[in-house]
């Protein structure tokens, strides 16, 4: 069948419009910044603090998400239990929560006057206006991205290969580690990349729950906002750094996930 030239022109036009609109701001950031400004912004101590803090907190948050989220997603994907769809919906709820609402919610739950705030304080943990609070906010906002992807990835793993592993003498935990995770690694990596990207860009919940204290809770997005009113070029340069950093992290995670597992 010959494709209609009119229809081809229509869909090609739509793609061109979408591509231009979506890449223009990113292109603009780099065009406006220039390599000189980008490097000089990296020597600014405020920017360096923000970058270091962003890397530390996102790394910690994604680690927590992967360690807890992987077994949880495996359970959701491979067992059925009453109320399963309710649980899945609850776990995905933060996806549609506005960041400001997430921040308020975290304060209401874990803040000094929150419903479990007393327990948290009694345990000697301080979250509000602390780096730990940033990690909590990032984990809350980013976890559903990983859970969703990981659940889909585990659900797509061939059941009989899990059963084959069992008949070959591997228990359940070993089967997950040696068969399910390697088979699902592409989807897990994609989920990790999404969650990490979301955590790197997190703004609203962090600001409301942890505040914007330089070196303590001021991550890169908060630092960008802080400068935006007073020093637009500096905000732009820091934005360029964040874009480059996110792109590099996402690409490397996807690359590692797409690679065949090294033999051992």
């Amino acid at each position: 069948m010959k494709p209609s030239p009119w229809f081809t022109a229509l869909i090609a036009g739509a793609l061109a419009a979408a591509l231009t609109f979506l890449t223009l701001p990113i292109v603009a950031i780099f065009v406006d910044t220039g390599p000189g400004r980008l490097l000089s912004s990296l020597s600014d101590p405020v920017a360096v603090d923000a970058l270091r803090l962003s890397l530390e907190t996102t790394l910690l948050a994604t680690t927590i998400i992967v360690v807890v989220g992987t077994p949880a997603a495996y359970l959701l994907a491979t067992r059925s239990f009453p109320g399963q769809s309710v649980v899945v919906t609850l776990v995905e709820l933060p996806l549609v929560l506005p960041p400001a609402v997430a921040g308020i919610g975290l304060l209401a739950a874990l803040g000094p006057h929150g419903i479990v705030g007393g327990v948290v304080a009694d345990a000697g943990v301080r979250l509000v206006l602390q780096t730990a609070g940033v990690v909590v906010a990032l984990t809350f906002v980013a976890a559903p991205f990983y859970l969703r992807q990981a659940q889909a990835a585990f659900a797509a793993v061939d059941r009989s290969s899990l059963e084959a592993s069992r008949t070959l003498g591997a228990g359940e935990a070993r089967t997950v580690w040696r068969v399910a995770i390697p088979a699902a690694r592409g989807g897990l990596a994609a989920g990790l990349a999404l969650a990490w990207g979301r955590a790197l860009g997190e703004f609203g919940a962090t600001l409301m729950f942890a505040g914007s204290l330089r070196g303590v809770t001021q991550t890169v997005p908060l630092a960008i906002y802080d400068r935006f009113a007073t020093d637009f070029p500096a905000a732009l340069a820091l934005s360029a750094v964040l874009v480059a950093l996110s792109a590099a992290l996402l690409l490397s995670v996807k690359f590692v996930g797409g690679m065949p597992r090294a033999s051992r």
Binding site: R166, L168, G169, A170, V179, P260
Partner: protein, 354 residues
């Protein structure tokens, strides 16, 4: 000796049967899709838990619901070959085979895996990933993987069904050799009677979760316990009412007209079965041959060639299929609509009560 008594019901399906296999023997579990063959295999391996049952292999008890014993699959040591082979896609062929060898030191695992692959003619494919293997090669890797840990029993779920016709012939030969060597009780699940006859020392035919008949394939083919078994073994089945024949045996008045003589004895409603290759076709005006007592007139409905033989479907009092040679087909000048007489001996007609 592998012995299993299983009783299980799930989603309106009931399975209730008992199987026993000697070490070195192969029981073919045959039956149509959904008859419970695979469920039986899964219950023996511990992948599904029956409501009631007992499974023992040698002196080890794997399941006894009465005593609350249910050994997990990883502790049973059943070699299981899945229908789609279920190879680990992220591992190389030899790593798949070595997966179950955790009790060996790491260096020996690779050595033993390569040894097995070599025995199965796959020495040069050891480093390949499953996606790069042909269907026949995948099947052999799956077999090698199941046999590597020296299982207490071997369970095969339609191991030939995922193969195309060409690789199937070769795989059948290889599999027959491997099974002849295996010193453990083996259960082979298939929906194909010919396969069951080829691999099974005994064939158990299942229908709707029950065993309908069990015995050597020749015995099932020669005296099917039911019309179902006769049909399943590839025979033509004709339904009618039998009465004793003074000349020994029985005469069956067929539904739809016509009669069939058998040397077997029976009375009442029966299924008369005959293998297609026992039936010869004659032109309508041919003089009847003395020793052949069954003659049913019919019209050619279909002609199907396969492997040098021809299957001719006939519209008669009840549908009939004859299997003849290419030569006979040409000689008779058969085409759709040709009128013929299907003839076979009374001794080739088996009767089973309905």
């Amino acid at each position: 000796m592998l012995r299993a008594e299983l009783s299980l019901s799930r989603n309106g399906f009931d399975l209730d049967l008992e199987v026993a296999v000697e070490p070195g023997a192969c029981l073919a579990l045959a039956g149509p899709s959904g008859c419970g063959k695979t469920t039986t295999l899964r219950a023996v391996a511990g992948l599904v838990a029956p409501q009631r049952g007992r499974v023992a292999c040698g002196d080890r008890l794997w399941l006894d619901t009465a005593r609350g014993i249910n050994v997990s699959p990883e502790r049973r040591g059943c070699g299981y070959v899945f229908q789609d082979y279920a190879l680990f896609g992220h591992q190389r062929a030899w790593q798949n085979v070595a997966y179950g060898l955790r009790h060996l030191p790491r260096r020996e695992r690779r050595h033993r895996a390569l040894e097995l692959l070599e025995r199965f003619g796959l020495a040069d494919r050891a480093e390949a990933r499953p996606s790069a293997l042909s269907g026949g090669e995948r099947q052999r890797v799956a077999l090698a993987r199941a046999l590597a840990p020296r299982p207490a029993a071997l369970l095969l779920d339609e191991p030939l069904s995922a193969l195309d016709a060409r690789s199937c012939a070769e795989a059948t030969r290889v599999l027959a050799e491997i099974l002849a060597d295996a010193r453990v009780p083996t259960i082979f699940v298939t929906h194909d009677f010919q396969e069951a006859a080829l691999f099974g020392d005994k064939v158990a035919v299942l229908a709707a979760g029950r065993m309908v008949q069990r015995g050597p394939a020749e015995e099932l083919a020669a005296s099917p316990a039911s019309a179902f078994v006769a049909d399943f073994s590839g025979a033509v089945v004709l339904i009618g009412t039998a009465r004793p024949d003074p000349g020994a045996g029985a005469v069956v008045q067929l539904e739809g007209g016509g009669r069939v003589v058998s040397t077997a004895r029976a009375t009442g409603r029966v299924a008369a079965s005959v293998f297609p290759w026992e039936i010869s076709l004659e032109p309508p005006d041919a003089p009847p041959l003395g020793s052949i007592r069954n003659h049913i007139p019919g019209t050619v409905r279909s002609i199907t060639r396969f492997g040098g033989r021809v299957r001719v479907g006939l519209d008669a009092c009840q549908p009939l299929t004859a299997e003849i040679t290419e030569g006979a087909l040409r000689e008779l000048g058969l085409r759709r609509g040709t009128r013929v007489i299907a003839s076979w001996k009374a001794a080739a007609t088996r009767l089973s009560a309905l």
